[in-house]
């Protein structure tokens, strides 16, 4: 019984801390909007209400949450095991490339074979790239934080070159590949928006990820290695294995995010399509405290933030990067222990 009250009190502290963090982030945003916008009230209205005003915006917001759920899950796995995967951006990009390459090179394939094949290629590509950093750490203790970032950045340029070179659509003046054949497109479920059926599968995947992490032996070992590697080693766990495995899983999720956005939304590759999905995945996972189930609302919140910024940009006079400043404030404060101990102290004295 005691354990239970403890857990709910922790939950309260987490939520209250999160509330303070988000509150400060929004205050910073209000200040920026009041300084920079000539019509601050309209800007704020479009920011908060814009994504909810019609079916099209609302569906697109849900759709934007899909890849964020996947990257958020990917980061949660890595962070739970105390592995810093900062290469998400490149892993999403290469996943998208792998999926599009399969679709474009086998245009005659029926969807029922082509879609799983493309997804598998994307997951494999992402897993290989992140796994490389995991392998370096496994083998020689190379810092995965820096290596995953550097590998990802190099890859972004190389994929850029493939998109604008080999895959470039000769009939388009834009830097895009050809469209993939229609049988590979995911089913739209909320027209006229872009929202597609994959959201259902990904919510299920989040539950599976939760089950794996918290209800299986391997998930337990992975978490113990993240919490206290010395203790894990003492308990006879093969710690080195958990340098590699979480990175492979993390990369796989990122690769899938790339595939889902290609086959679900864009139906082609264009330069820079991963636009922040990898970085935002880190924020999503942090807000969710690396809990796969909490990743779902966290990704929705982030998609809302982005959609709000987009709506404020289209309808008012601020630029969309205002969202990254708000995100930065969230990043700054989300791990700040002082905020949580402040909440705890207040609770104790109350």
């Amino acid at each position: 019984m005691k354990v239970k009250t403890n857990r709910s009190s922790n939950m309260f502290v987490s939520l209250a801390g999160l509330g303070i963090t988000l509150g400060i982030a929004f205050i910073v945003m209000f200040i920026m909007i009041f300084i920079m916008s000539e019509t601050p009230k309209d800007t704020i209205y479009y920011f908060f209400a814009g994504p909810l005003t019609n079916k099209y915006y609302f569906g697109n917001m849900l759709n934007a949450a899909i890849p964020l759920m996947l990257t958020g899950l990917g980061i949660s796995f890595a962070f739970r095991a105390s592995m810093f995967n900062l290469g998400g951006e490149g892993q999403v990009y290469i996943g998208g490339l792998a999926a599009a390459s399969v679709c474009l090179s086998l245009p005659g394939l029926p969807g029922i074979i082509g879609i799983p094949l493309s997804l598998a290629a994307a997951v494999l590509a992402g897993a290989l790239v992140a796994g490389l950093s995991g392998y370096f750490k496994f083998k020689w203790r190379t810092d995965e934080l820096i290596s995953s970032f550097l590998i990802s950045n190099a890859l972004i340029y190389i994929v850029d070159n493939i998109i604008t070179g080999v895959l470039q659509d000769p009939e388009s003046s834009l830097l895009t590949s050809k469209k993939i054949a229609e049988q590979f497109w995911f089913l739209k479920i909320f027209p006229p928006s872009n929202l597609d059926i994959s959201i259902v599968f990904i919510v299920v995947l989040a539950f599976l990820a939760y089950f794996y992490l918290f209800k299986t032996h391997q998930g337990y070992e992975m978490r113990i290695c993240g919490l206290n590697p010395e203790f894990a080693r003492y308990g006879g766990i093969n710690v080195k294995k958990y340098f590699l495995l979480p990175m492979v899983l993390s990369g796989g999720f990122h690769g899938m995010a790339g595939a889902v956005s290609v086959m679900g939304t864009q139906h082609m590759l264009f330069k820079g399509f991963s636009g922040g999905m990898g970085w935002n995945g880190i924020a999503v996972a942090l807000i969710a405290r690396n809990n796969p189930l909490a990743v779902i609302p966290s990704a929705l919140f982030f998609a809302y933030l982005e959609a709000g910024a987009k709506s404020a940009m289209i309808n008012a006079d601020v630029t969309i990067e205002i969202a990254s400043v708000v995100q930065a404030v969230v990043f700054y404060l989300i791990t700040a222990q002082a905020i949580y101990s402040f909440v705890q102290r207040r609770r104790r004295t109350a």
Partner: protein, 300 residues
């Protein structure tokens, strides 16, 4: 083509290319010695790059531009440090936050002040003065390589010497190193490790501000995301340089040379621009892996 014709300009260029790596590396060394991996270098360089050129354009003075640019960078370094140390946040995440904030804020401000998110060209901005000593410039080869750079290049060298003195010859340096290697002893002596970590972070703000100023003032323009991974490369330069100021000077030169060579190669081999952009990252990760292999073998 004779050998001299090729090598002298390439090496000359590598010395100016290495300067941002060197400056950011020296600053990052201070936080590294204080026991913190400072991944905010990248964002701090970008902040320095943006504010120094904007202030230089507003005031019409390079000196004021650099000074105010550095002050802004130190200010953002302070925010990063204060949240990390006093609010006890995870240093990697606050570092990422700094990088994210730098990218977002510079774009928001550029759009607000100049109405564009693209390249900001400042015409009529004076170029950085070139440091010349006519008598020394006449020395063959060495004169051509070492002299005739802008003043900030020599500022970088000065920083190496100052850092060396600070780290090895002052009580502050001794305590700074103690913060990383033995914080308990520091606490036992009644000193606060946090103060030294904060000092390291502020110094890294100063040098990254300068590193950013080198990038934009050399160009007379601000290009979005002009830091282009230099802060990350600087982290690897710190490790490759064995965490000493002069080691960092050598390692920064290696990276400067690599970039200079790839620029040179672009002139006559048809390498796609994307590969040239990817090259610094590839060579950095290769250097990092090789270092860890060597270290791993040594400890075995």
């Amino acid at each position: 083509m004779s050998n001299g014709e090729f090598s002298i300009p390439v090496i000359h260029n590598s010395i100016s290319i290495m300067t941002p790596f060197l400056l950011a590396g020296i600053g990052g060394l201070m936080t590294e010695l204080a026991g913190m991996l400072n991944i905010a270098l990248e964002g701090l360089i970008l902040i320095g790059a943006f504010f120094s050129v904007v202030f230089a354009a507003y005031t019409g003075s390079l000196f004021l531009g650099i000074l105010l640019g550095i002050l802004m960078t130190v200010f953002f370094a302070f925010i990063f440090g204060a949240i990390t140390l006093y609010l006890k946040a995870n240093v990697f995440i606050t570092g990422l936050a700094t990088n994210l904030l730098a990218g977002g804020l510079t774009t928001v401000l550029a759009f607000y002040l100049f109405g564009t998110k693209g390249v900001l060209l400042f015409e009529g901005l004076p170029s950085l003065p070139i440091f010349r000593i006519p008598a020394l410039h006449g020395i063959p080869v060495i004169g051509d390589i070492l002299f005739g750079h802008n003043v900030l290049v020599y500022m970088g060298w000065l920083m190496v010497i100052l850092a060396w003195i600070l780290i090895y010859k002052t009580p502050f340096g001794y305590r700074l190193r103690g913060t990383g290697s033995n914080p308990e002893a520091l606490k036992a002596a009644g000193l606060k490790p946090q103060n030294y970590q904060m000092a390291g972070i502020l110094i890294s703000g100063l040098t990254c501000g300068l590193a950013g100023a080198v990038l934009t003032l050399n160009l007379g323009a601000y290009v979005p995301n002009i830091s282009a991974g230099r802060g990350w490369i600087a982290l690897v330069v710190i490790y490759l340089g064995g965490k000493t100021p002069f080691g960092i000077l050598g390692a920064a030169f290696v990276f400067g040379l690599a970039e200079s060579l790839s620029n040179y190669a672009q002139g006559f081999i048809d390498i796609p621009a994307d590969f040239i952009l990817a090259f610094p990252y590839i060579i950095t990760v290769a250097a990092m892996v090789i270092m860890s292999v060597i270290k791993h073998k040594a400890t075995k």
